[in-house]
Symmetry: C2
């Protein structure tokens, strides 16, 4: 491990910590003014950002990167305007800091209040899209924390300009520039040092593919929030309205395939399989979906390929789905418990007891009853901003908004109370 | 790493997971009945427990263990009755499971509810005192989770009997015995395997000395909540009522020295140092406290020994304190930020702005204004049960009651909603 990289990451973390101290007591007005200034500066710097991005895109193309990855990397004036607007939208959200979570007067007269306070220093490790840079920086700043950004090497030039522009705007607005820092991305060691900077960094959030998240979880000594792996199921119950079920299955699978709340697996109750399986297969095939199915699904259409346990465990993020018939809601729950990543499951049923059984039986961040898995989303839930969707049970589970980016402290006031 | 131990821990975790499924939907009445039965069974088994404990105590004495450690290990009928009563008290607390944390109807008509649900499987790694065994098992059961207990080898025989008795009572009450399991403690590997059983165990809580907690944080891949290290400060401001300050300093340091919310460091504003330092030194010395002080404290009494940075960083857990004079509240804040473990700080001041500045400036789980640090405690805060005091910012900060032992899920109900 390079000592030089460690020193560099630690020094950045210390500067971020220093910067976070005045931010912790900054008023909402000051924070919002800085965010709006940053949004305006990003729009004003559109040409610079797009130019730097063109260099990233050219380098990616030269390295033989696939077109769909390049599409996520590419910025144009419209995309810059969109993430600048995202920064403005974050400014418009209520300030989570100072919120009273609970409070009471204790029997001895002590006045206890639990209030939301900033985390301090947050590390973000992410891949691909440079719009995450502006988004993460704005969310952290609004939540009162400094951020250390460790983006992808493929977006290094885009990220450098975005961070430079935002730092300038934040400083001009009277807050420390070191609230937003970009770590080097040309060396894996910068990510490793970030996740091992316990005591200097309060929280690391990895945002990206399953491999990245696994690596961070395995190596980090800083507390981590896992995000985004979604092997989501739709279970069509015996008591389902089958037209409704068809609409939900197709929407959950095909509305957007590359997102974590897309469905990856379909379970159908045996009692309705005879009618529903052929309809589902036809509708999915019409949308170009490759189906990995059990015997019942294979019998419905020769284009259905056999499903293995590996298929049931796979998050395709593509026009593919695994599918099987189950004997009961309990059988469906057992399947979900075995294969799910704990993101979102949906049940389609008109039966309230069955819905309740499924809801309490699976063990996931969100359960949709008669609705598409696609609704697990900070925007849909009304949180405004979203840093990711947590699939872990600690601290935050499901879409993480500004509240989930804070911690709390107990303030206890007395009149000389002793024990 | 022994594969055999891994298999054993993983097998125990899988049995615990299976057991946790029916518990997740058990009513409060069923859980409380099991806890009350366990309490009664513990009292009925007093002789068996005390006998097993005598063997642990004899082995500890043979190994040359110090008397204060043996005192914490020792059980008699009174101590068994006390922890059995603790189990009954946990039964009497409200059930955190099912509590609605937030809920709303989204603009599209989806009905969203965030509800408290169990963690699943919780691992406890702890030292010394066998009463923790009954306490941790009862808290986890009430919070709807199965527990894997990894106690100290020195309490192995006591723990074995306590767990056996509680398992029997839980099973007789109609819940799975595997909700409470004791892992072997004669091999360090059982703790290591527990902390690395990611996917099988949802949360690990270490409860013990700083060394244990550091080891768990460093090695664990399962999410961890750090507990209990308390380098707590009392800051006596220029605007303090000095009689009140004296009472708080003495209480915070001497009321009970071996606990994490005892004061370990005293900071005094220069403006009142001339009057307060000699009084504080005299009062602390009268209680037998060894003072590691700066020049001002040394000048007050030749018995004051010089303080080093190491002293300022030390959690003495004994009749010792570090002490220095500071120039301002900001100087006090900077000292606390540098040396504190983030547990509890106290300020004594009549000035509201100064209290507010200190409260927001330090970065700790709890801040006492004109009250002793000793009040940071689940019982004092009215939480009823307490599994420990978290000094980390993620998930839970400060005393952890039943709520903090749960996670949440979003249940979203629609009428065929798609995006």
């Amino acid at each position: 491990m390079s000592t030089q990289m460690r020193d560099e990451v630690h020094a950045a973390a210390r500067r971020a910590r220093e910067a976070s101290i005045p931010l912790a007591t900054a008023t909402r007005a000051v924070k919002d003014a800085a965010l709006i200034a940053a949004a305006e500066a990003l729009v004003a710097a559109t040409d610079r950002i797009v130019e730097a991005n063109a260099a990233d895109v050219a380098a990616a193309r030269e390295a033989g990167t696939g077109e769909h990855v390049i599409d996520r990397l590419r910025l144009d004036a419209g995309r810059v305007a969109a993430f600048a607007q995202g920064v403005r939208d974050i400014a418009a959200l209520p300030d989570p800091i100072g919120e009273v979570v609970r409070g009471s007067v204790l029997p001895n007269g002590l006045r206890m209040t639990q209030i939301r306070v900033p985390m301090g220093v947050i590390g973000m490790i992410y891949e691909g899209r440079p719009n995450v840079t502006a988004d993460a920086a704005a969310i952290c700043l609004k939540a009162g924390s400094a951020v250390l950004l460790r983006g992808s090497a493929s977006a290094a030039q885009s990220n450098a300009v975005i961070v430079d522009v935002m730092r300038g705007a934040v400083e001009a607005a009277g807050l420390p520039a070191d609230l937003i820092s970009l770590l080097p991305s040309d060396d894996r060691a910068s990510a490793t040092e970030l996740m091992r900077a316990r005591g200097l960094v309060d929280l690391v959030i990895p945002r990206g593919g399953a491999g990245l998240i696994r690596a961070v979880v395995e190596e980090s000594t800083v507390p981590v929030i896992e995000t985004g792996t979604g092997n989501c199921h739709v279970y069509v119950d015996a008591d389902a309205d089958l037209d409704m079920a068809l609409g939900i299955v197709v929407n959950a699978k095909t509305h957007r395939t590359s997102v974590c709340n897309a469905a990856e697996s379909l379970l159908v109750h045996r009692d309705v399989a005879g009618e529903f399986v052929p309809r589902a297969v036809a509708a999915l095939r019409e949308h170009g979906v490759l189906i990995h199915g059990d015997a019942a699904f294979q019998a419905a259409d020769p284009a259905v390929v056999p499903a293995t346990d590996e298929d049931y465990a796979t998050e395709y993020l593509d026009l593919e789905i695994s599918a099987r018939v189950v004997d009961s809601v309990d059988d469906a729950i057992a399947h979900v418990r075995r294969f799910s990543s704990g993101h979102t499951e949906a049940i389609v049923t008109a039966s309230a007891p069955t819905a309740r059984r499924f809801t309490l039986g699976v063990d996931s961040a969100a359960v949709m009853v008669n609705a598409s898995t696609r609704f697990t989303d900070g925007g849909e839930f009304g949180f405004g901003a979203e840093i990711g969707i947590s699939t872990q049970k600690l601290h935050a589970r499901g879409p993480m908004g500004l509240q989930e980016m804070t911690t709390t402290t107990y303030v206890v006031e007395g009149d000389g109370h002793v024990r």
